[in-house]
């Protein structure tokens, strides 16, 4: 899904911007926690999980998108028994730090095909890192707290964006050409919404909105 390859001819024409809004109709709910009947007390109350966060990306990307750059770093915190951010989009080759900001152990792991890892248990204030080399969707969990989960989307190119609190996104410096624009959201079941967008030779802004029900 996220593996991409060059498409179209990229010249020295002015680049454009693809922008828009992704509206997710799914309600915001707290992250579901398994009924822990063996516990002697209540668990702490956590922030509601915002499942509206989406990732908009080009299915096919211009050749320039694959140019080598310095190794990027990203961060996914473990805070109040929640991964923050819940959705992280990175380019292949990124190293993600997983600091533990809680006063309890966490054990970050993933069994995903794109990246399988297990960081073991480590204490508050400590951090461990994972480098993601292959495009794909990596589901991240905590081995101790089954309600903790997150998504890391690894792209082969840099034309992707995570929506903000209002669902807005912006893909900048897109060379002229026609592209298939796709949305990923964890609530989508079935085919992901897609649109073909064209950046004219002279550049400029192109609007593309999506609605996910």
């Amino acid at each position: 899904m996220l593996a991409c390859w060059p498409a179209g001819v990229v010249g020295r024409a002015a680049a454009g911007t693809i922008r828009g809004r992704v509206e997710v109709k799914t309600p915001i709910v707290a992250e579901a926690e398994r009924p822990d009947v063996g516990a002697l007390g209540m668990s702490s109350i956590r922030e509601p999980l915002d499942r509206r966060r989406s990732v908009v990306y080009l299915e096919t990307a211009p050749r320039a998108a694959f140019d080598a750059r310095e190794e990027p770093h990203a961060r996914m915190d473990q805070r109040n028994e929640t991964f923050v951010p819940h959705v992280l989009a990175i380019v292949a080759g990124t190293t993600v730090d997983f600091p533990n900001d809680d006063r309890t152990y966490h054990n970050v792991f993933s069994l995903s095909k794109a990246k399988s890892f297990d960081l073991g248990r480590y204490a508050t204030g400590k951090s461990k890192s994972v480098r993601f080399d292959h495009p794909g969707i990596v589901r991240v969990f905590c081995d101790i707290h089954s309600h903790m989960s997150a998504f890391i989307l690894v792209f082969a190119h840099r034309y992707f964006a995570v929506t903000d609190d209002e669902g807005r996104y912006r893909l900048e410096n897109v060379p002229p050409g026609s592209y298939t624009l796709t949305v990923w959201n964890e609530t989508i079941r079935g085919d992901a919404p897609k649109r073909v967008v064209t950046i004219p030779e002279g550049g400029g802004d192109v609007d593309a909105d999506f609605t996910i029900r």
Binding site: P35, G41, L111, D143, S149
Partner: protein, 409 residues
């Protein structure tokens, strides 16, 4: 060897069907009523060698812990932010559905981490019985001896003499005594992990300390839904977390063990004495990186009536200890082991064992070695080899090979 081959064949078959299962099984709990009701479930299928000769792994529901199909559904209904009802319904080996847990949880003060639970509640004593409810938190298939192995004593039937007791050595799976119930029935473990008691408990937890106490109708070895002797059990545990990853706990409990019908029937002989179970326990856990090491020590003492000669002079004690560890070799694979022992105090008979002081039940040692693979995050396949040694009984040594497929959502 035939059992081992069967387990190996099962493992291969399950490995082959994994991709199909992984595409279709739910990943997490289901929510209803806007998130107020959460429902999760678990299924575990354990298969391995038979145990009808030695009964090393029989539970108080007369099921073999290594050959068990268990289906469980758990639910939480959050009536208010600090008020919830929790339940877990279970069926083992296709038998009737039983509410293993059903209780109300209240946090009286918003900013004080103190909770009260009432109903069929998790035990405060020890550590394993609460952990065993989570299908993914037992690294092996078998249970520790203290929580599963059936000793020869019963709450509804008692030996008339030390000889009666010694005759039942290693017969915990089906013990019978001349006083009380005339049926041959299973004895009790030190602590039952397969049934929970009914009552009320309070728990205070902070970052470094926690303390819990409960008042329930049954005892550790014989939890009950309804009180049968009008005398409650009191249990408590304190826990300390001196360092990250390290938990140390100490527990104690005391409750009336003999059932009321037996006491009433033999009131003239038994008098108004208390015939109870008193237990002490220590538990510890240390985890770091890819390691978890856990240990527990439990000492249980049952006071039985001294009815006939040769007398059972002292309370009967049983002591059990285990150490278990799990090491995650890779994201998918782990290995685990548990070493376990169960010993008993001595009594002196007359005709039985020729008057030589002998342990009132046959001591048992158990080793369980296992490995597991996460087929997906919530679908685990485990295999284990479990040799058992018993100092008495018809079968003194048996090794079981078993496999378990466990799924939860």
């Amino acid at each position: 060897m035939r059992g081992f081959r069967a387990v190996a064949a099962g493992v291969l078959w399950l490995s082959a069907v994994r991709p199909t299962l992984a595409q279709t099984l739910p990943q997490g709990p289901a929510e209803f009523a806007g998130g107020a009701v959460t429902v999760s479930g678990s299924v575990s299928v354990s298969f391995g060698s038979h145990d009808e000769l030695a009964f090393f792994n029989y539970t108080d529901y007369e099921h073999n812990a290594l050959r068990l199909v268990r289906i469980a559904v758990a639910g939480t209904w959050r009536i208010a932010p600090r008020l919830a009802v929790l339940t877990e319904l279970r069926s083992e080996d296709g038998e009737q559905v039983v509410p293993y847990a059903l209780y109300l949880r209240v946090r009286p003060f918003a900013h004080v981490p103190f909770d009260v639970q009432a109903g069929r509640i998790p035990p405060v004593f020890g550590a394993f019985a609460r952990r065993s409810y989570r299908i993914d938190d037992n690294p092996l298939i078998g249970y520790p001896l203290a929580y599963q192995y059936l000793t020869s004593i019963r709450p509804d039937a008692i030996p008339g003499s030390a000889d009666d007791l010694l005759l039942m050595r290693a017969r915990g799976w089906r013990a019978s005594y001349p006083v009380g119930s005339e049926d041959a029935q299973p004895g009790v473990p030190l602590v039952s992990a397969y049934r929970w008691d009914t009552g009320i408990e309070g728990n205070f937890a902070s970052d470094r300390y926690d303390a819990a106490a409960s008042v329930t109708t049954g005892t550790l070895s014989s939890p009950r839904t309804r009180d049968d002797n009008s005398r409650p059990q009191v249990a408590a545990r304190i826990g300390w977390k001196p360092a990250f990853g390290l938990v140390i706990g100490a527990s104690a409990s005391h409750g009336e063990f003999l059932n009321g019908a037996l006491e009433d029937r033999y009131r003239d002989v038994l008098g108004d004495h208390s015939y109870g179970q008193t237990a002490f326990g220590f538990d510890g856990e240390y985890s770091r990186d890819h390691w978890i090491v856990r240990t527990e020590w439990i000492n249980s003492r049952w006071t039985l009536p001294r009815l006939g000669v040769p007398l059972i002079q002292q309370p009967l004690t049983a002591t059990s200890a285990y150490v278990e560890g799990r090491y995650r070799v890779s994201p998918r694979w782990y290995v685990a082991a548990r070493a376990d022992t169960l010993t008993f105090s001595r009594v002196r008979g007359d005709r039985v064992f020729a008057g030589v002081p002998t342990t009132w039940d046959a001591p048992v040692k158990r080793l369980e070695l296992g490995a597991g693979v996460y087929l997906q995050r919530n679908l685990t396949l485990r295999v284990s080899v479990q040799p058992n040694w018993r100092d008495g009984g018809r079968v003194r040594h048996r090794t079981f090979t078993s496999a378990q497929l466990a799924y939860w959502f």
